[in-house]
């Protein structure tokens, strides 16, 4: 009875997870995400496997590259992108819902845009999306490349620029997403440096949809220098004299040092921020004149978390653009319509499959069959709840794995019932027959499920190298299915049967009523002779 209560609780919990729709919940302060995560093949999108061109890349560089790609992808506004490092030199990028080639190029293009901006008296927060005056062309592959990209000298110049339709058009992309073309590779885009000296073509980002923050004057933030004017050799982690807190050291190349010192000297006490692809990675107050050597420190950086932050800023300063050159070695684009068709077809297949199995079980095993079908429904709900709880990404093959596991879940029941029937034929009371049935069927169930789990493990490993989530998805859902099916057969069906013989009286011997257990009386002279 206690286990029946337990099952009831588990089912109630699972049903609550399953049937409340796609949502997030917070329980006891933990945020739980109960949304069904659809794989690429179910919603369309891009999947790309990138490999570093050079053989010797460090783990650190790959990690930085991954972070930068992730930041850019987040700027694209796709839902649930998935960017992971695979092996030593690969990055897998999944962009569900993206069907536009250009957006993909923006995400994985080789370089990013690092800027030091003038924040005036504002203190910007990390991760703020801002518009800056420095703008480079959106993509290496964009034919219109090279038209925009120079600093604005003053607010006045910026406003006059706003009336220039040409400049506006160029800046229409979100600052967070425009960062691809290598600034170093685009000489046309370099005359930025002189904040006060170089009156260049001006640019104002006017995109109304995905704009970043404007400065307090209503203008884009003034870019002081860009990442390619930093001296990578001089960027490092330093230690401050007091308290051992860490700080960020950076150097400016000699050609930009003049600009930088002019800027810092005239803005002492004001704010400066470092921006990567339009997103603030660090903001600081200018405490002294910096020409070719500077440092950033903070009271917060004495803690372990602070150390990580310092490390992260140093890496981003060093490799503002992607620190490794990446090649696409595998790509997959899935059309959106195909995906939604697939979902509906899978649901139909699942329902049909479940119905046939249920009909078969009831016709063949009768009363225990009915119990098995109930157990099967319990199984389906629990399994689906597990998928939702752990955020298993459902792919087409994954759903196939789930539906397949429905067939396998009954499997264990069939084994148990067949054993049970044998025991009953020998004239054992129901209770004994049930217990013996379970006892005898257990080794087969265990062995066969372990062999499937071994297969799943190997599949998981295999899928890791194909660059697609399809195979892994199948292995994962099948494995979860197998584990839940063991639970369903051993605990759920068992409990149901126990409850049944409590109702019927456990000591009943089946002299009549064998029909309910799918026994045909003519078959009673069985092969078990000599076993009893």
């Amino acid at each position: 009875m206690l286990s029946l209560l337990g099952i009831g609780l588990i089912v109630a919990l699972s049903a609550w997870i399953c049937f409340g729709g796609d949502r997030t919940e917070s329980i006891l302060g933990t945020k739980l995400d109960f949304r069904v995560k659809q794989g690429l093949d179910l919603q369309g999108g891009y999947q790309i496997l990138l490999q570093a061109r050079s053989q010797n890349v460090t783990k650190e560089r790959m990690e930085v590259a991954r972070n930068i790609i992730e930041k850019r992808v987040n700027g694209l506004g796709t839902n649930e992108p998935n960017i992971t490092i695979q092996g030593d030199n690969r990055i897998s990028v999944e962009l569900p819902g993206v069907t536009d080639e250009d957006q993909v190029k923006k995400a994985i293009g080789s370089t990013g845009r690092l800027e030091f901006i003038d924040a005036g008296t504002e203190s910007l927060n990390t991760d703020d999306l801002v518009q800056t005056t420095y703008c480079i062309n959106g993509s290496l592959f964009d034919k219109k490349a090279g038209q925009c990209g120079a600093g604005v000298t003053s607010s006045a110049a910026a406003s006059s620029a706003a009336t220039n339709p040409n400049a506006q058009a160029n800046a229409a992309g979100t600052p967070g997403a425009t960062a691809t073309a290598g600034s170093a590779a685009t000489p046309a885009a370099t005359p930025v440096a002189g904040a006060a000296t170089t009156p260049g073509a001006s640019t104002v980002a006017t995109d109304t949809v995905k704009t970043g923050k404007l400065s307090s004057t209503g203008q884009p933030y003034q870019t002081v220098i860009t990442g390619d004017q930093l001296d990578p050799a001089k960027i490092d982690v330093g230690f401050s004299d007091v308290g051992g807190a860490q700080k960020v050291l950076f150097g400016v190349k000699s050609d930009a040092a003049g600009t930088f010192s002019t800027f810092t000297s005239s803005n002492l006490g004001k704010q400066m921020a470092i921006v990567l692809d339009g997103r603030v990675i660090s903001a600081a107050r200018i405490n002294g004149v910096i020409s070719n050597q500077g440092e950033i420190s903070s009271d917060r950086w004495g803690t372990p978390a602070g150390k990580a932050e310092v490390q992260s800023i140093v890496l981003q300063l060093k490799y503002g653009s992607l620190p490794v050159e990446l090649n696409v070695i595998n790509s997959r684009k899935i059309g959106a319509t195909l995906g939604s068709d697939s979902v509906n077809q899978s649901i139909t297949a699942g329902i049909v499959g479940l119905s046939i199995v249920a009909t078969f079980m009831i016709l063949y095993f009768r009363l225990p069959g009915v119990l098995a079908v109930v157990a099967l429904l319990v199984y389906s709900i629990i399994t689906f709840a597990v998928f939702k709880w752990f955020g298993v990404v459902l792919t087409l093959a994954g759903i196939a794995g789930f539906i397949l596991s429905i067939g396998m879940a009954v499997d264990a029941n069939v084994l148990i019932f067949a054993r049970m029937k044998e025991e009953m034929r020998l004239g054992r009371p129901i209770e004994r027959a049930v217990e013996e049935g379970f006892h005898n069927a257990w080794p087969s169930i265990r062995d066969s499920n372990i062999s499937t789990l071994i297969t799943c493990l190997i599949l998981f490993w295999f899928g890791d190298f194909t660059g697609t989530s399809t195979i892994k998805g199948f292995a994962l859902t099948l494995a979860i299915g197998v584990l839940c099916s063991m639970f369903s057969a051993i605990v759920v069906t068992h409990t149901f049967l126990r409850v049944m013989f409590l109702v019927m009286g456990g000591q009943t011997r089946l002299t009549s009523g064998g029909w309910w257990f799918g026994m045909n009386r003519t078959r009673r002279t069985t092969e078990e002779v000599g076993q009893a």
Binding site: D41, I48, L49, E101, F141, E325, V328, I329, N330, S331, R332, K333, I334, G335, A336, T337, L338, S342, Q345, S346, A349, V352, G353, L354, I356, V357, M361, Y364, L396, A397, A400, I403, L404, I406, G407, M408, V414, L415, A418, E422, P443, D447, S448, N449, S451, T452, I454, T455, I458, L459, W461, F462, F465, T466, G467, F474, A475, E527, V529, Q531
Partner: protein, 354 residues
Amino acid sequence: MKQSLNLVKYRWQFIFFSLLIIVPGLVFIILGGLRPSIDFTGGSSWDIYFDAKRVPNSVDVEKTLKDSDAQFINDLRGKAAKNQAETDLLALRDKQSFDAIAQPSTEGLIIVRTSLISDNTNEKKFLTDALEKRFKTSNGFDQTNLGLTSTSSTVSNEVTTRSIIAVVLASVGILCYLAYAFRKVKRPWRYGLCAIFAMIHDVLVVLGLFAILGFFFKEEIDALFVTALLTVIGFSVHDTIVVFDRIRENQLRNPGEPFESLVNHSLVQTIVRSLNTSLTVIFTLSALYLFGGTTIRNFVLALLIGVVSGTYSSIFNASMLLVIWEKGEWGRILGRRASGGNKVAQPPQPVTVR
């Protein structure tokens, strides 16, 4: 009355039936019926959807792709400053010129297999634009529905090696597990090896049938196919275990019983149950095959064939091999196949306890 059902008696016939399927399959494998997809060979595969009523001629699609790629490559050669990826692409095309083979599939869909389209240059965009220009208004081509998979040789080589390793690993892993599970029985490795034989049987059946399908209908095998194979391996053993488990149990229960009748006894006891367990899986797979959509249809078909074969082999091959082995009939396979059936009809000999 079931006592009279002597399955073991027909062991050679059962094995002969398996060969009836495996041998033609092997012939078609040798004839090159297995068509590896780009997962193994590298290249690009396009799923191009058109308006079902206005599907263009395949040749037309091929020509559009070939012409526009030639155009793209030509433009690229003329370009002054080429980046690394572009130089790489030109070298690749110099080595092997661009090829495209179109194959009409389900309604409105044409699948085109081409040489590897470079993701690192503008090639992909150029070709899709060309398709759009040519087929959008006249045939209802839509870029957002285009499916395109590109696999470089780096990845395809890896998938190939990993596939082989995975199959070997699965076999070895399961063999070891079986040997462990049957460690209390006499000669556990023999059970393991017979299960492996049954497994090879199933793999050959699936491979063979797909070779035939590939030969006549140009069906391809991809990484998902290997996934299906690996799953079938798991299944095959799973089925075999049910039968072997009963033999193990009966052996402990009736140590004196002759092996041949012991196996027969166990088979009769488990046959209905083995069929039932497989049947439920076959039901769900059939539903998937019929209603589950085209994308995974071949994957499901491979699983379906494998499960049916796995059920057959565990009942009619694995245990039969155990008997054949136990009776030392291996030596007779070649010379006296024809008379084999009569030999086994003799009353079972008591097993000498060793």
